[in-house]
Structures are given as structure tokens and as C-alpha cells.
């Protein structure tokens, strides 16, 4: 359909250098209209720099050589966190009008108002924003994350750009949202707009992209269609990147043996570690969570749900970080005090929590080793030398060598800090370890290593009860028991095998589906 049209953008021998170091080293690619071109690679491989080069943006002080041709002159950009590019002080209508107004200057004054409105509504339709008209008067903070993303998309489309650069649109989203975003991008491509997708979410790339370039250290190491790359990767790096995207690694499968033991013990009340009874949690005046009964037996359990369903609130109630709730949380039959401050040292040590943002959860001024050892010093009254030795041992079992952990958190990567956070929690020798979305927002390689780590934890600490809060299917399948939350209610809970093979509730099915399915869409494109 669009095969004979000129490319929407063309990059030749792009080289972006800062202080002698090349962020992008000789990248050449073409972005044809009506197609989705994907750039994949690990963080730091130069994807964003290349994408931004199309917008003629580059890091300050960088030297840019090479040729970038965008015949249209207009490039749309959708960043990863759309809320950050929406002016919070103005309603959506005003944001879109500003752009539309520049385009209708040639019309006579009395036609301008209707022309602006038409353009805005068309852009909102292209961005697949339902009830666009009702949302026009809202401010960005009154929209949900998905709606904000569509508004940013509408902004980009309104400019009339022939090419759209989408930067990590699906990272950190749950499966249902990923599907929606994938559908949006496919719809945009169908309109004839070229899409340059920068992502390390390989499932979405495989489903959506027409052409994929693999970037590594600023160079394109391989290009081809998804079928070619996934079935016959030529370069070793491509092979490594794509095999790590394989859903569940067969060698580290979920501990199926434990699962059968637990499900065989009927009501399992005697072996239940954590039990939630009639929990009603509030944020201010509004109720966000209603859990009449939730059982978390020893072993690995997962609590799944979409963003905003109340999973984090539940996790924080369990940990004692959220104290405005009615109901009881029983650990081995004993009710836990609501607030952290009221818990004894033993109770604190028994329930530990790993935060989603590991970097924000560490003190940036102290070495990681000291912070990890502090758990033992404070919660188990261990002497300092012993605590440090144990901390170093635990950290090395988690893959962090001694010299690295003596540094400050700023010198470690996100994945390393997440392991250090796990070590910090483990040093308290907890009965229950709650991991709040620790794999979301990380790239595929880090996610896989964290999953391997968690699976290993369950094996090496049989008395530990691991509670995984997640919206990621692969992380949830590590668990033996899954509970699904929707809008503050538990819609389904049971053994993981049952939920994966025969989900009762549609949300469970949606969250546990293998990958975004755009097969129908791609077939319709010319």
C-alpha cells in the first residue's frame, strides 16, 4: 500500500559524540511510512539518542555528525512518562488548541473556531481516546495514566507529523494496558504515519514491529523482520537478547513440588503464615481496598492486578506502612499491630518489605554494605562485625561482589540495588517477604535475573513466605498461589496452575495472557 512512497525519515551514518565517547556510532536506518520500525537494545545502547536525533535533539555539548532527513519536517514524540510533558496548569482542550491554532491561520476568522474543534476531535479519534469531548475540560492530573498517554499521542498527531517516535511506551505497564497501547500504535501506523518504536519490551516489539534494528553500544548489529530475528538470529548479541526474552526459563521453573503439597492440605489454616481478615483500607475518606478473606500460605504467593487496583495498599497494610484500615492481619494466628511503630522487633523482623524503586529506598550517602547490615544490627541485635560478615555473604549469594557493595548506591545499577534491597530484607530473617513490583520498569535482562533470584530464594529458604506484588505474568507464574485484585476487591484466588490454565474471571485471563496479540492488526496492514 505504501511501498512506493518516500521514507518518512532517513538517517545516514549518525554519530553522536560526547567528550570523545560515542553514544551513537554510525547508525543508518530508514523509517518508511505506515510501518512500525523498532529499535531494540539494552538501556544505554543509544536507542533514545537515535530517536531524539530525529527531532534534532541531542545531549548538550554533543557533537553530531551524519545526515538526518525528515522530508516532512515534523516529528512527533511520545515519552515514557506522558504526564511529564503535559502542562499541569492547563486543561487538555487548551493544550490541544495551542497546537491547532497555529495551523488554521490561513482561514477566515469566523471559520477558525470550528476548524480548531474539528482538528482536535480528529486527533483525539486517531489516538483512540473514548469520550474525547468529555475529557477536554479536564486537567492532566484528573486523567488516568492511559488517558494521559493518549492525550500526548493526540498532541503529536495533531501537529500533522508524518513520523512518531514512541519511547518505551509499554515499559512498566500491566498486560491489559500493554495491549491497549499496542493497539493504539498499530492504529496510528494504519493511518499512514511512520512509527519509530524504541523499546526493550521484546514481546510488544515482536507483535507490533514490521522491521527491527538491534542496537548495541551505539551500533546496529542486526536488522530484519521479527520473524527473521526471532527464528534465525545471526549476531551473538541478538541471540543473547532474544533468548532472555523467552517467557519462563525452563531450568528455573516454579517450584511445582511445593505447590502440590500446599493444595493437598485442604483449608491449610494450620500452615497459613499470613491471613487477612475483613480488611477495609482507606486513603483519607475513600475506601480503596476490601478484602474479606485472603490466605497466604508458606511458599511463593503472587498478588496480581492492574495499576490502581489496591495491590500496593494491601502490601503496605501487611508491612505496617499503611495504618488506616479496619480488620485484622494475622501472622501465625496473632494479630499484627497496624503501625510499624507499634510492632515489636520480632514482629518487624518477621514481615519485611522490598520497595519498587530500589534507588529511592536506599540512603545515598552511606555504603550499601552498611545499610544492608543494619537490618541485622537493629532487628536481631547482632554485633556489628558479625552483621557485616553476614551481609557480605548474603550479598555475594545474590550476585553482588564485596568491592561493589562497599560503594554508595549511586554507583550501582537499578538491578543491583534491587538485589541489595532483597539482601537487606533477608538479613532480618523474615517469615514473610513482600516484594512490591520489583521487576516492573526494569529491562528484560534484569527482569529475568531477578526472577531467577526469586525462584532461587524460595528453594534456599523453605521457611520463607514470599509475597510478590506484580502485574507481570512471568513474575506471577513463579508463585504457587495467585490472588487477583480488581479495583480493591479480590476477584479470584487459588493455586497458580489453575489460574493460568483455567481462569474464571476475565481480568485474570487478561493479566495472564502470554503476550499482546496484534496478529489480527498486522494482517490488515498493506
Amino acid at each position: 500500500m505504501h511501498l512506493n512512497e518516500p521514507d518518512a525519515a532517513e538517517v545516514q551514518d549518525l554519530r553522536v559524540e560526547i567528550d570523545g565517547r560515542a553514544l551513537v556510532d554510525g547508525v543508518s536506518l530508514r523509517v518508511p511510512p505506515g510501518r512500525i520500525t523498532a529499535l531494540i537494545g539494552a538501556s544505554g545502547s543509544g536507542k533514545t539518542t537515535t530517536g531524539l536525533a530525529l527531532l534534532h535533539e541531542h545531549p548538550p555539548g554533543a557533537r553530531v555528525t551524519g545526515e538526518i532527513r525528515v522530508p516532512d519536517g515534523l516529528v512527533g514524540y511520545v515519552p515514557q512518562h506522558p504526564a511529564t510533558v503535559l502542562n499541569p496548569a492547563r486543561p487538555v482542550a487548551a493544550l490541544l488548541q495551542d497546537i491547532a491554532r497555529t495551523q488554521i491561520r490561513h482561514l477566515p476568522r469566523r471559520d477558525r473556531r470550528t476548524a480548531i474543534r474539528q482538528r482536535i476531535l480528529r486527533a483525539l479519534g486517531q489516538a483512540r481516546l473514548q469520550d474525547g469531548e468529555t475529557l477536554l475540560n479536564r486537567y492532566p492530573h484528573q486523567l488516568s495514566g492511559g488517558q494521559q498517554q493518549r492525550v500526548v499521542l493526540a498532541q503529536a498527531l495533531l501537529t500533522g507529523a508524518g513520523i512518531l517516535v514512541a519511547d518505551e511506551p509499554t515499559t512498566g505497564q500491566d498486560a491489559v494496558t500493554k495491549q491497549q497501547i499496542a493497539d493504539q500504535l498499530a492504529a496510528v501506523a494504519r493511518e499512514g504515519i511512520a512509527v519509530l518504536l524504541l523499546s526493550h519490551d521484546l514481546e510488544v516489539v515482536r507483535a507490533l514491529a514490521d522491521h527491527v534494528h538491534v542496537l548495541r553500544a551505539g551500533r546496529i548489529v542486526e536488522s530484519g523482520t521479527p520473524e527473521q530475528l526471532w527464528s534465525r538470529p545471526q549476531h551473538s548479541w541478538t541471540r543473547a537478547l532474544l533468548t532472555s526474552a523467552a517467557a519462563t526459563e525452563p531450568s528455573e521453573g516454579p517450584p511445582v513440588q511445593n505447590g502440590t503439597d500446599e493444595t493437598a492440605s485442604g483449608p491449610a489454616a494450620a500452615t497459613t503464615v499470613l491471613r487477612v481478615r475483613s480488611l477495609i483500607a482507606r486513603h483519607g475518606k475513600s475506601t480503596v481496598l476490601r478484602t474479606p478473606e485472603l490466605l497466604l500460605p508458606p511458599g511463593c504467593s503472587a498478588i496480581m492486578g492492574r495499576s490502581g487496583s489496591g495491590k500496593t495498599t494491601l502490601a503496605r497494610c501487611l508491612a505496617g506502612l499503611h495504618r488506616s484500615y479496619d480488620g485484622e492481619i494475622l501472622l501465625d494466628g496473632v494479630a499484627l499491630p497496624r503501625s510499624l511503630r507499634d510492632r515489636t522487633r520480632e514482629q518487624l523482623a518477621a514481615v519485611q518489605y522490598v520497595f519498587q524503586d530500589a534507588r529511592a529506598a536506599f540512603d545515598e550517602h552511606r555504603p550499601v554494605l552498611d545499610q544492608v547490615a543494619r537490618s541485622a544490627i537493629r532487628l536481631r541485635a547482632a554485633p556489628r562485625t558479625e552483621a557485616l560478615a553476614e551481609a557480605e555473604r548474603t550479598l555475594s549469594t545474590l550476585g553482588l561482589p564485596g568491592d561493589l557493595v562497599r560503594r554508595r548506591p549511586t554507583e550501582l545499577s537499578g538491578g543491583e540495588l534491587q538485589r541489595a534491597a532483597l539482601a537487606r530484607a533477608l538479613l532480618a530473617r523474615p517469615r514473610v517477604l513482600i516484594c512490591d513490583e520489583i521487576t516492573s520498569g526494569q529491562d528484560a535482562v534484569t527482569r529475568r535475573s531477578l526472577r531467577t533470584l526469586l525462584a532461587g530464594l524460595v528453594r534456599t529458604h523453605p521457611e520463607l513466605s514470599l509475597v510478590l506484588i506484580t502485574h507481570d505474568r512471568d513474575t506471577a507464574t513463579l508463585a504457587t498461589r495467585i490472588a487477583v485484585l480488581d479495583d480493591g476487591h479480590v476477584v479470584e484466588q487459588g493455586p497458580a496452575d489453575e489460574l493460568v490454565t483455567a481462569p474464571q474471571h476475565p481480568l485474570t485471563a487478561a493479566l495472564l495472557q502470554p503476550a499482546p496479540d496484534v496478529g489480527v492488526m498486522s494482517g490488515m496492514r498493506g
Partner: protein
């Protein structure tokens, strides 16, 4: 010479130049003062007094040597006292989850803020006639509401971070969390505030002395000297000019010193905007991904060069702290 554009320790030069003379005179002056000479006629120049005599015929230079200490010590004591009270209160207000406690701490200070400081000083002085120690206390009291607000505002952001909750989960004591983490995170802001406050306190102490509060009318005190010797300024300017210049130099020098100390040193070569060093090894060991730099350091201090440690094969690339770096299109 703008401290902001001058790299390295040279940015301290101007501040130290201005500050050293009055500070040394103030702290070490009394050691060199010697015995008081015989009284001469007021407001005369020459005759062995190289700076002339003051309003009661004493040698001006000797008064200058003796007069710095009260000013400096009172100002330092007042500032230290103000922070000793404001820091815990501000931290309590920032760290508490109980709304009513925060209101209880902050609202009374809002009321006190409305009271003009000089008026307050005069009122209390009229009733109580304080000495130097009392003056320090009064000036501290006047500064506490402002300092509490500054401390609370500076620490509010750090107090809301997951790190504070993580410390609580470790059973960490309140003091170590508050001072060790939250206070430490807000150090730069608090240091900047301290600099401004010290200068303000110096001014207030000097003004109080002008008005006769906290010092004897004939005390050896720079501020008192400026006030008392005004009458003979056209006969003998040095009795006013010397102490005035010294007070000014003290205030300016303190300000410049804090400015220079808080200026981040310029980036050296080989680093990009976020203070990264080039990755030492480019990760061409098989399947290991590049072990790149770890994301922006919050203080943007240049990272020391790292020896290439063997990359762990399962380690992922860095994730930006908090807000993802990709949300800023201008990187």
C-alpha cells in the same frame, strides 16, 4: 570574580580575603590589646594613637582589638541556639504522619513570624535589660520561627521518600533517621540557610548594640563604637569607619564563604552532563550487557574513576533513579 564560574579552591579566595581580617581581629585581638593607656582628649588624631581616640578619649585601635569578640561570639551563639531548637522541631514537623502534630508545631511559629524582630527586641530589652547572653537568647528566639520553616521545607521532600520507610522497617531509631538521613539529605539547603541567617543575626546584634541593648554604653564592641562615636565623625572619622568596615566585612565575608562552599565545583573533562565517566569496559565479554554508569548522582559530584570490575552476567543495565531519564526529551 564570580564564585560560580571559578573552578576549584580558587573560588574561596575572595571570601577568605574579606573574612580573614575581621575574624582574626575579633578572635585574636584581645591577646594583643595590652594595657589601656592614659585617657587623652576625645576625638583627636595622632599623638601616638594611629587611629585616633574615641568619644571618651580611649585609643580607638585598642577598642577595635577588644570589640570584635562580643559581636562575633554573640552572633555565633545566637545562630547556633536558633538551629539547636529549630532543627528538631522542623524534623518533627516534616517526619510526622500525624497532621495535628505538624499543625501544632508550625502554627504558633507562623504567629511569631508576624512580630517584627527589632520591635520585639526593643520591647523585651525595655522590660528586662539583658546582657550579652540574654541578647544572644533573644536574637535566637527571633530567628527560630523562620529557621523552623526553612528546616521543615528543606526536609519535607526527603522525609517522604521510601528510604525513610525502609529505615523504619529496619527498626532504626528516630534520631538516626531524622538527622542521619533526612537532615543529611537537606544539608546543602540548610547550610545555605545558615549562611543567610548568620549574616542576619550579625546585623541584628549590631543594631541591638546601636540601640543600647545587651551592651554597656561604653563597652568595647564594634557596634557600640559605631553608635557612640557618631557624634565626632567629622572630627575623627576612624572611630566610626574602622568598626563599621569591619562589621561589613564580617557579614559580606560570611555570605561569600557560604556561597563558595555551596558552589558545586565545575565538571572536569571526560564527563557528560550527568557526571558520567566513560565506561571502562565496553562489555564485549560474550553475553554480558554493557556495564554502564549508574545513572545521575544526586549531587552531581564527579564520580571517581572505577576499575573495570568483571560484569556479573545477569546484571542488567542501569535504571534511572526516580523519574526515568527518558521523560526528559532534552537529554
Amino acid at each position: 570574580m564570580n564564585p560560580r564560574t571559578v573552578p576549584g579552591p580558587r573560588r574561596f579566595t575572595l571570601a577568605l580575603l574579606i573574612l580573614t581580617v575581621p575574624l582574626l581581629l575579633a578572635l585574636l585581638g584581645p591577646l594583643f590589646a595590652g594595657e589601656p593607656g592614659p585617657r587623652a582628649a576625645s576625638f583627636t588624631l595622632g599623638g601616638g594613637h594611629w587611629a585616633g581616640t574615641d568619644f571618651v578619649g580611649r585609643d580607638v585601635w585598642r577598642q577595635v582589638l577588644l570589640g570584635g569578640r562580643p559581636v562575633v561570639l554573640t552572633a555565633l551563639a545566637a545562630t547556633a541556639l536558633a538551629y539547636a531548637v529549630a532543627l528538631p522541631l522542623g524534623l518533627i514537623a516534616a517526619l510526622t504522619h500525624r497532621r495535628w502534630l505538624e499543625e501544632l508545631v508550625m502554627r504558633p511559629f507562623d504567629v511569631l513570624l508576624a512580630v517584627p524582630s527589632l520591635l520585639f527586641l526593643l520591647l523585651v530589652a525595655a522590660v528586662l535589660t539583658p546582657d550579652a547572653g540574654g541578647l544572644a537568647l533573644l536574637v535566637a528566639l527571633v530567628n527560630i520561627p523562620d529557621a523552623v520553616r526553612a528546616v521543615r521545607a528543606a526536609t519535607a521532600e526527603a522525609a517522604a521518600r521510601p528510604a525513610v520507610e525502609a529505615l523504619r522497617m529496619q527498626g532504626e531509631t528516630w534520631w538516626r533517621t531524622a538527622i542521619g538521613y533526612v537532615g543529611r539529605s537537606a544539608l546543602r539547603t540548610l547550610a545555605a540557610d545558615a549562611g543567610v541567617r548568620l549574616a542576619g543575626v550579625l546585623y541584628l546584634v549590631a543594631t541591638a548594640a546601636f540601640l543600647g541593648i545587651g551592651a554597656e554604653p561604653d563597652a568595647a564592641d564594634w557596634a557600640v563604637m559605631v553608635d557612640r562615636n557618631r557624634t565626632g565623625m567629622f572630627l575623627q572619622p576612624w572611630a566610626v569607619v574602622l568598626p563599621a568596615v569591619l562589621i561589613m566585612a564580617l557579614t559580606m565575608g560570611t555570605n561569600l564563604l557560604f556561597d563558595a562552599a555551596l558552589t558545586r565545583p565545575d565538571r572536569g573533562p571526560g564527563q557528560d552532563r550527568r557526571g558520567r565517566r566513560p565506561a571502562a569496559d565496553r562489555g564485549d565479554q560474550g553475553t554480558a550487557p554493557d556495564r554502564r554508569d549508574r545513572g545521575p548522582a544526586p549531587d552531581r559530584v564527579p564520580q571517581p574513576g572505577r576499575t573495570p570490575a568483571p560484569p556479573s552476567p545477569t546484571d542488567g543495565p542501569p535504571r534511572a533513579p526516580g523519574r526515568d531519564e527518558k521523560s526528559n526529551p532534552c537529554i
